[in-house]
C-alpha cells in the first residue's frame, strides 16, 4: 500500500485534484480504510458546516463600538465639562442667530424707509424716528465754521450720511464674521490636536 493521502483529502473533496494526483488518490482510497474513514469524516463535517448559517462578519469599527457599549459607564450627571462642551457648540449657532437677527432688522429698516418715502407712514414716522438718524452734524459744523463749502461740503455731507448709515451694519457684520472665524480656527486646532493624539495612540498600540 502506498503512502496515506490525508494531506490531499480536502483538495479531493473540493474537486481540486486533477490528472495523476486524482488517479493516485482514488486508487489509494479504494484500498486504504484509514484514508477512506478520514474522507467520510471530512464529508460529514462539510455537510454539517453547510447546514449552519454563516456567522455575520463584524467590522473592526463595529466590534470596537460593541466593546465600548459593554464597558461600564461612569454614573455622572451633566458635568461642568459637558456644559462647557455644549456652550462651545452653541457659540457659532448663537453668532449665526445674531447675524440673521441683525440682517432681518436692517432689511425691515430698509422696507420701512422705502414705505416712509412713499408716504405710507405719514403721521407716525416722527415717533418712529425716521429721518433723524442720518444727521450730518460734522459736515454742517465744518460748513458753518467755513472750513468746507460748495462741492467739498456736498461730498463731506454725502460721505458722512453714508458712513452713519452703513458703518454700524458693516462693523457689526465684520465683528460677527471675525468671531465666527476665530471659533473655526480654534475648532480646527483642537481637531488637529485630537487627530494627532489618536494617531499617536494607534502607533503605540
Amino acid at each position: 500500500m502506498s503512502k496515506h493521502v490525508t494531506d490531499w483529502l480536502n483538495a479531493y473533496l473540493d474537486g481540486e485534484l486533477h490528472g495523476s494526483q486524482l488517479h493516485h488518490a482514488e486508487a489509494h482510497l479504494a484500498e486504504c480504510q484509514v484514508c477512506e474513514a478520514e474522507l467520510r469524516s471530512l464529508e460529514r463535517l462539510s455537510s454539517l458546516l453547510h447546514e449552519i448559517s454563516a456567522p455575520e462578519f463584524t467590522s473592526p469599527e463595529r466590534f470596537a463600538a460593541q466593546v465600548n457599549l459593554r464597558l461600564p459607564r461612569q454614573q455622572t450627571a451633566i458635568s461642568g465639562k459637558k456644559i462647557l462642551e455644549i456652550g462651545w457648540w452653541m457659540v457659532p449657532v448663537g453668532l449665526l442667530g445674531v447675524w440673521i437677527f441683525i440682517g432681518t432688522a436692517f432689511v425691515l429698516s430698509d422696507i420701512l424707509s422705502a414705505a416712509n418715502n412713499f408716504g405710507l407712514l405719514s403721521g407716525i414716522s416722527n415717533w418712529l424716528s425716521f429721518g433723524s438718524s442720518n444727521g450730518i452734524y460734522l459736515s454742517s459744523t465744518l460748513g458753518q465754521a467755513g472750513l468746507l463749502s460748495g462741492n467739498s461740503l456736498n461730498w463731506a455731507e454725502a460721505t458722512e450720511t453714508f458712513t452713519r448709515m452703513s458703518l454700524p451694519q458693516i462693523s457689526l457684520q465684520i465683528s460677527i464674521a471675525l468671531l465666527y472665524l476665530s471659533w473655526i480656527a480654534i475648532w480646527w486646532a483642537r481637531h488637529t490636536r485630537h487627530q494627532r493624539q489618536q494617531h499617536g495612540q494607534l502607533l503605540e498600540g
Binding site: 467590522s59 469599527e61 463595529r62 463600538a65 460593541q66 457599549l69 459593554r70 464597558l71 461600564p72 459607564r73 454614573q75 457659532p92 449657532v93 449665526l96 440673521i100 437677527f101 440682517g103 432681518t104 432688522a105 436692517f106 432689511v107 425691515l108 429698516s109 430698509d110 422696507i111 420701512l112 424707509s113 422705502a114 414705505a115 416712509n116 418715502n117 412713499f118 408716504g119 405710507l120 407712514l121 405719514s122 407716525i124 414716522s125 418712529l128 425716521f130 429721518g131 433723524s132 438718524s133 442720518n134 444727521g135 450720511t161 448709515m165 452703513s166 451694519q169 458693516i170 464674521a177 465666527y180 472665524l181 471659533w183 473655526i184 475648532w187 480646527w188 481637531h191 488637529t192 487627530q195
Partner: protein, 370 residues
C-alpha cells in the same frame, strides 16, 4: 466623520478633475444671474433728513402719479426733439426692449436647465470618481446630467424655496395693498397697527430666513439621494430628512465649517477680484472685439426702423449679456471653483455618512459599574 479630511479631499478633486470646472462655470453663471434678482441689502437706507423734503401725503402721491402719466404720454406723442427721436420711434424702441426681455427670459430658462444638468453632472462625476477613480469627460458628464433627475432637482429646489417665495409674495401683496389703500385715501393707519405689522413682519422674515437656511442645508442631501440613488422627489425628501436627523451632529458640524469657509471665501474673493482686475481688462478688450461684429450687424438692422442713438442703445442692450459674460469670465471661473468645491464637499459628506455603520446594537450585559 472627519470634516478636515473631506475638505482636503474636495480640494484635491477640484484641482485634479478639470472637467468639473466646465459645469462649475454654468453653476456660477446661474448663481450670478439669480443673485442679481435677490435683495441686495447694502445697508444704505433711503431716508429723508429732517427738513430736507416735506412728508409725502396721499394727495401728493396721487398728483405725482398723474404727472408721471402725463409726462409719459407726452414723451410717446412728441418723442425727444432735442436728439431727433420721434414718438413713433420711441414706441418701436419699446417693442425692441420687449423683444429683448423675451429673449432674456428664454436665455434664463436655458441657463436654469443647464444649471440643473450641471448640478446632476457634478454630483455624479464626483461620486463616480470616488467609487472607481475613473474621471469622466465633459461629454459623459452631460450624458449623466441630461436626465429626469435634473427635473427632479428643480422640483426639490422649488419645494425648498417655497417658504421664501411665499414670504416675498405675502410681503409684496401686503405692501401693494397698503400702498394702494393710502394712494386712494381709504386707509388711515393707527400707530399701534403699524407697530404690530412691523413686529409681525420682523418675526416672519426672521423665521423664514432660518427655515430657508435649514432647508438649504437639507437640500444638499435631498439632491444627492435623488441623483445617486435615483429616488423620486418625495422619497428624496423623506430619506434626506431621516438621514440628516440621524446624523445631525456630523451634518451640523460640516455645515458650521462650510459657513466658516464661506466667510473666508467672501474675503478671499474680494482680494482675488481686485488682483484679477488687469486680467478682466484684457478679457474685456477681447470681449469688445468679439461683440463688435454682432453689435454692428444689430445696429445696422435697428437703423432700418429706429433713428438717432436708439439703434446703438438697442444693439448694446442685445450684446451686453455676451460682453459681460466674456469680460468677467475670470471672475466667473472663481465662482466656478467655489461651486464645484462646495458641491464636492457635500457629495463627499453624503458618501461618508452613508458609509458610517449604524450603531444599533444594544448591550446584552448590564454594566455593573465597578
Amino acid at each position: 466623520m472627519d470634516p478636515v479630511k473631506i475638505l482636503k479631499r474636495a480640494w484635491y478633486i477640484l484641482w485634479s478633475y478639470r472637467a468639473l470646472w466646465v459645469f462649475g462655470l454654468v453653476l456660477a453663471l446661474a448663481a450670478g444671474s439669480s443673485a442679481g434678482q435677490g435683495s441686495n441689502n447694502n445697508g444704505v437706507n433711503y431716508q429723508q433728513g429732517p427738513g430736507e423734503n416735506p412728508q409725502v401725503s396721499p394727495q401728493s402721491l396721487q398728483e405725482a402719479f398723474r404727472d408721471f402719466q402725463r409726462e409719459v404720454n407726452k414723451l410717446f406723442e412728441q418723442g425727444i426733439p432735442e436728439i431727433h427721436i420721434s414718438g413713433t420711434e420711441l414706441t418701436t424702441f419699446l417693442w425692441v426692449i420687449g423683444a429683448f426681455v423675451l429673449i432674456m427670459l428664454i436665455v434664463g430658462i436655458i441657463v436654469a436647465i443647464a444649471r440643473y444638468v450641471s448640478e446632476t453632472a457634478v454630483i455624479r462625476m464626483v461620486d463616480e470618481y470616488e467609487s472607481t477613480s475613473n474621471k469622466l469627460t465633459i461629454r459623459q458628464g452631460i450624458r449623466f446630467g441630461w436626465s429626469n433627475t435634473s427635473w427632479r432637482l428643480f422640483l426639490i429646489n422649488l419645494i425648498v424655496n417655497l417658504p421664501a417665495i411665499a414670504l416675498v409674495l405675502v410681503l409684496l401683496v401686503a405692501g401693494l395693498g397698503i400702498f394702494f389703500s393710502v394712494v386712494n385715501g381709504n386707509a388711515n393707519f393707527a400707530a399701534f397697527s403699524v407697530v404690530s405689522v412691523i413686529v409681525l413682519a420682523f418675526i416672519s422674515i426672521f423665521v423664514v430666513v432660518i427655515l430657508t437656511i435649514l432647508l438649504h442645508l437639507l437640500r444638499n442631501f435631498f439632491w444627492r439621494i435623488c441623483v445617486l440613488e435615483n429616488a423620486s422627489v418625495r422619497e428624496s425628501l423623506q430619506r434626506g430628512f431621516a438621514m440628516v436627523l440621524e446624523n445631525w451632529k456630523n451634518v451640523g458640524l460640516m455645515w458650521l465649517v462650510m459657513i466658516g469657509l464661506g466667510i473666508v471665501w467672501a474675503v478671499a474673493s474680494i482680494i482675488l477680484i481686485i488682483v484679477t482686475i488687469p486680467v478682466v481688462i484684457v478679457t474685456a478688450v477681447i470681449a469688445v472685439l468679439v461683440v463688435a461684429l454682432p453689435l454692428l450687424l444689430l445696429v445696422g438692422t435697428f437703423s432700418l426702423f429706429l433713428g438717432g442713438v436708439l439703434p446703438w442703445i438697442a444693439g448694446g442692450l442685445f450684446v451686453a449679456p455676451l460682453f459681460f459674460t466674456l469680460a468677467f469670465s475670470p471672475w466667473l471661473l472663481l465662482g466656478s471653483w467655489q461651486a464645484v468645491y462646495t458641491s464636492t464637499v457635500w457629495t463627499l459628506t453624503y458618501r461618508e455618512i452613508k458609509a458610517l455603520p449604524a450603531f444599533t446594537v444594544t448591550p446584552q450585559v448590564e454594566p455593573t459599574g465597578d
